[in-house]
Amino acid sequence: ELKVEQNPLFLSMQEGKNYTIYCNYSTTSDRLYWYRQDPGKSLESLFVLLSNGAVKQEGRLMASLDTKARLSTLHITAAVHDLSATYFCAVDSSPGGTSYGKLTFGQGTILTVHP
């Protein structure tokens, strides 16, 4: 059974600081997703990482994937208050082939950015 673990689960940051959220998963997969969820809202897609070594950047967020280490990171640069949210990584449980089905989600990291 695929397990996806994030750490930390809670992250309190000061504005302007950098930090990294880690996402480890237990079985082979080359498809990893990062989502953001604001309180009371649904999930917003941030990044889709589809191969080993993939790196994607959007604003102050950068995501990377190392399939050999079964690890993805979400790096936050110079945090601002607007980044406060819960961040989830998710791994596709159907590696290879053409039929992609369920995503297995990590527990989520609650990020709070303080002035």
């Binding site: 997703y33 999930l43 897609s45 889709v48 053409t98 992609y100 989520g108």
Partner: protein, 114 residues
């Protein structure tokens, strides 16, 4: 363009009643997914539809849960004889069906079973 829509946004029901939750995917998306989000269990996969293929029902927690997708578009998740542990936010997502793309989530239906 229009995103994934779900109805109702909130549903309060009594234990033992049946409920139906509706999902309208993004037009043209062939893949549709149901997930459940609760405090104790996080985000759980329930069921996945892809085109005309048999759905992947491996995440349905019991035989009280069922889902159908009519005409390759709208989907209904039905929970029979609801229990208090069914209380959660039920999220629907869709994707174009091509390999590897993101799932686009709807706003969810918050189900409360009294």
């Amino acid at each position: 363009g229009a995103g994934v829509s779900q109805s109702p946004s909130n549903k309060v029901t009594e234990k033992g009643k049946d409920v139906e939750l509706r999902c309208d995917p993004i037009s043209g998306h062939t893949a549709l997914y149901w997930y459940r989000q609760s405090l104790g269990q996080g985000l759980e996969f329930l069921i996945y539809f892809q085109g005309n293929s048999a759905p992947d029902k491996s995440g349905l927690p019991s035989d009280r849960f069922s889902a159908e997708r009519t005409g390759g578009s709208v989907s209904t998740l039905t929970i029979q004889r609801t229990q208090q542990e069914d209380s959660a936010v039920y999220l629907c997502a869709s994707s174009p069906g091509t390999s590897g793309g993101p799932r686009y989530f709807g706003p969810g239906t918050r189900l409360t079973v009294l």
